[in-house]
Symmetry: C2
Subunit: 136 residues, 2 copies
């Protein structure tokens, strides 16, 4: 799972991590401050932060023995872009279908339909590291 988008989604799949992001959106915090509300060890929180940092969602500076955590809001754009792209595509298709159905209804004897011929348009590059199965 090397690509950033995967890392960001995975990072946010954990409720504790999502809560941390929520709190960091209010103010930067130290690890201790962040850990306070959760019933887990400080080390566990440290691990969560590592995940968030590796995904690019947060960054950390240094202030004496403290390591203030800061939310990198720009990474949200990456997700929003991905989500919006496919949501819009799906919505467009829905509307296209609607239009076709309407047309079919309005004019019931015209028979030149070309539905279902859409075929691949976008499709993120999934061609990474596949195991060569399916020929077995």
């Amino acid at each position: 799972m090397t690509d950033q988008l995967s890392k960001v989604f995975a990072a946010l799949a954990d409720p504790t991590r999502r809560d941390m992001v929520a709190r960091l959106s209010v103010a930067d915090s130290t690890v201790n401050e962040l850990a306070e509300p959760y019933d887990v060890s400080l080390q566990a929180v440290s691990k969560h932060l590592k995940v968030l940092e590796d995904s690019g969602l947060v960054s950390r500076t240094r202030d004496a023995q403290r390591r203030p955590v800061h939310l990198e809001n720009n990474v949200f754009d990456l997700m929003t872009k991905w989500i919006e792209r496919y949501r819009q595509q799906a919505e467009e298709r829905y509307q296209r279908l609607d239009a076709v159905l309407e047309a079919m209804n309005a004019d019931e004897d015209a028979n030149g339909s070309d539905l279902g011929a859409a075929s691949a348009t976008g499709s993120e590059d999934t061609s990474t590291d596949r195991r060569s199965r399916k020929g077995a």
Copy 2:
């Protein structure tokens, strides 16, 4: 990991699953059609679809022995809402900070600063199923 948001993020953390969503945004597909481009067994694809379905991202109907998969675009709203909430909060904070810095700069002897006093505002309900550590 019971909540839907966690399931949706987890589902999209996998590139293959993301690619499926991308392709489903173009047209509904059967399992076989979906499986075609990937070098994994049909069963693996079936599992991926189960994950997507459990997250609410896709739904499936029945057409004889086929099980057409359909993208449920409305679930994207859930994510978008979550993302936008915290992105906006972080952006606002950033602008607030900017304003304060500007004010401090324009009028260097006024000293009534109240930065860093923000403290919890939103914070998704994380209070689910915690293990009772940290008192040990």
